[in-house]
Symmetry: C2
Subunit: 482 residues, 2 copies
């Protein structure tokens, strides 16, 4: 009799799925970390530096005080009745917590909410979107989610019927998309971002890839755009975005807009424009374009990854389709209330005149300005190394330098049965404790090799990161230079 449960009899879609951000190299890093604990001094470094994932607080970023004050008060509302609370919490955190609790039926932060999220919090999120975009937003269009990932899964589950359904995704892409498409049994239709033009998105390439897929019988359902880009860090120009929404309308594609890095922009000549704002600006209404915008509390200056909050704003879908989305959401009952509250806070932070505003603004600016400096320092460092070229991180939390690996390194990788960039990343880890993700986990033009490195180590550590990286890279090149 076959084993009850074995890899051979698991869902092949699960087997096919890959997720490099927490893949082999990260698992190896966790083992090395354990080794450092049990046998200090046994490795050529004394800490693991996780630059593999956009997880700011794991590297020392502090949470925004106002947000945490409100969460603590909502978690333990009895505090609001105590006199001592006034000396421990800011006045506007207290009033915000009261206001939030007043919108929750029975003030019950321990109850399942409406499957789309608490209505009062969705109202705050919609107001924040409207204020950001200058176009109205509707609480009924908001589905609050445990971070952006469950929203992406929900849309893939809704749209993908079988392997003939395709989703256009950028290459390089954040592997949540390839993983989710694999898990739901669809086909990833790649379009390439152009590294030479700072990871530009060319409509002509989109068109070509779409037609190519269609000629193979693929029913292309949707276009994923990640803006600001992950892993590539580019911020799309407004006219490029206008072309993208026109392309989607003309081709009958749903636009899935990953906008989780909307607050992470580090250059003065670029700004974030939501695709909904762009669509409305070019005159498209609800009926012209089905559009989903994903947002998360994990990114931005807030970086609250562990709270698992986020939302998707769904416009341009018919009522019967929305009912199906609601049904999927309802099977999971609701997203966590702490994350829901936090999603409402990041879309409606303290305003000028609020007691917390000055402190909040200082924390926010401090984090964003520091991220900009770190991005620039790492970019410059990469560009100063032999055989590495690195585009500017205009936004998001990553650099995606190209490593021009010598032939000998590629052969050594082949001999070790590794992709060349994975070989490089593994050697980097073992020499320095720095964890990055090989470009092959995101996709890249065949024959090119990259790594994704976050800009998240705390600023005082950046010089040491650069020194360690430089020493490793120079030794690596010395070993393998053609």
């Amino acid at each position: 009799m076959a084993a009850t449960v074995a890899v051979e009899n698991l869902n092949p879609k699960v087997l096919k799925c890959e997720y490099a951000v927490r893949g082999e190299i990260v698992i190896h890093a966790q083992h090395l970390q354990q080794q450092l604990q049990t046998q200090p001094g046994s490795l050529p470094f004394d800490e693991i530096l996780y630059c593999n994932i956009g997880n700011p607080q794991s590297l020392g970023q502090q949470p925004v005080t106002f947000f945490r004050e409100v969460l603590a008060l909502c978690d333990h509302p009895c505090l609001l009745e105590k006199e001592e609370t006034k000396s421990l919490f800011s006045a506007d955190a207290i009033s915000r917590a009261k206001q939030i609790l007043s919108t929750i039926p029975g003030r019950a932060t321990g109850a399942y909410s409406h499957s789309q999220g608490i209505k009062g919090l969705r109202d705050a999120i919609a107001a924040g979107i409207a204020s950001r975009d200058g176009f109205p937003a509707n609480a009924d269009d908001i589905f609050v989610t445990d971070g952006a990932s469950p929203g992406v899964h929900m849309m893939m589950q809704l749209l993908i019927r079988n392997e003939k359904d395709g989703i256009l995704c950028p290459i390089p892409q954040y592997p949540l998309y390839s993983a989710s498409i694999a898990l739901h049994g669809g086909t990833l239709v790649p379009y390439y971002l152009d590294e030479k033009t700072g990871w530009g998105l060319e409509i002509s390439d989109l068109k070509k890839q779409l037609e190519d897929a269609r000629s193979k019988g693929i029913d292309v359902r949707a276009l994923v755009v990640i803006n600001p880009g992950n892993p590539t860090g580019q911020v799309l120009a407004e006219d490029n975005q206008c072309d993208i929404v026109r392309f989607c309308k003309n081709e009958g594609l749903i636009l899935l807009a990953d906008e989780v890095y909307q607050e992470n922009i580090y250059v003065d000549d670029k700004k974030f424009n939501s695709f909904k704002k762009i669509a409305r600006s070019v005159g498209y209404g609800e009926d012209d374009l089905p559009l989903v915008s994903f947002q998360s509390v994990s990114k931005g200056y807030y970086g609250e990854c562990g709270k698992r909050g986020g939302y998707m704003e769904i416009t341009g879908f018919s009522a019967p389709v929305r009912e199906q989305i609601y049904k999927i959401a309802s099977v999971n009952l609701c997203s966590n209330i702490t994350g829901q509250i936090l999603a409402s806070l990041v879309m409606n932070p303290p305003k000028v005149g609020d007691e917390s505003y000055a402190a909040y603004k200082a924390e926010k600016d401090g984090i964003l300005q520091s991220l900009a400096r770190r991005a620039k320092a790492l970019e410059d460092a990469f560009n100063n190394l032999e055989g590495i070229s690195c585009n500017k991180a205009e936004g998001a939390m990553y650099l995606f330098p190209q490593i021009h690996l010598p032939k000998k390194a590629i052969e050594a990788a082949k001999a070790a049965n590794k992709a060349p960039d994975a070989f490089y990343a593994l050697r980097l880890l073992e020499s320095t404790g720095i964890v990055v993700v090989p470009g092959s986990g995101f996709g890249q033009v065949p024959g090119t090799w990259h790594i994704r490195c976050t800009i998240l180590p705390q600023e005082d550590k950046i010089p040491a990161v650069i020194t360690r990286f430089k020493a490793f890279h120079e030794a690596f090149m010395a070993e393998y230079r053609d």
Copy 2:
């Protein structure tokens, strides 16, 4: 050209999925609630009473103070440095929060954790399981999840390859199982619980259904057992559980044990035994039986539905299969940290000698004793009504009375294009504001009709619930009596 996105071109598995607990009747109730707000006095009742879902805090149950103190302190750790905190929080909540923070790398409650959950919290959960069962438990076997539902989905996603893969589920069942099986494209293989013997689980019926499914070419992968039962409220006897684990071993089935009501037992002659304890008691080790136990912070005396915490304990799976489970978990990064902390707290609550113990014990006992009284009062009330018979709620949070509907009512339902129990539940809602779920949402022996009603209205409301229900039922029977 076909519409870009329309019900006709959605994933048929999504269309097939049903989830009655938040289905048509609940949506209708939400509309009536809005009507009560905008037009008070326009309906024959002045509030909607949601007895459709196990959501205690939505009906006024208060959270356990100790748990919320710890959550608030972990959400805003700065509090731990302030003198005033000592007068606002119990000493053991402060020390517990410090201990929890010390196990989180960088004390970062805002960081993604290990995809299985924070190791220190899994240690606490494993210790709680070991202390409950008297058999060892291992933190590496714990996957902390956003409530039990994502764990169930993960296992279905792992096991179901296509419609020839079957999962044995009780009928009646909690519709998460039917929904998840439908979403993943498998086949639900039903086995019937015997209403006459208090919703007994007969191995002979299990065997019959298994053989019947196999004769149709279904590869039956797993057996779902819900204990204590949902919607049926029975608590399995120990010898019955021993027979179930032997059956699974002999038949090569994975045992999926829904044990989320493990703290909800209301009769003196029954106690909760985890299936892992039973398996180890009959001498089965890791290699004998693949077993998954699901637990949630949403149920028990804690009832923290909105926090979305829980775990699954996975034993008896090979390392390569566990790697696949880890991979799926990692695509979603991690469950929310607040829920993770709470899952560790419910498995490791205050102990005798802790400052909070007396208050904690009083809150816990108060809730559980009140639930037992409410269960009994509602059970008696149902059994006193014409044409209703109701088994004892030995555990969980529900009664599942059978309504012997008159022929005329069944014909009226048919004329209204409703299932007879849905017709009854809709009439109940429209007359009284009481929301229950029709038995057809859970499955029932064909030709029998039930409703699921929670025992969760606060105790002071129970007499009014009974009065309203009785008046409705008598009028309904007067209208339709044969």
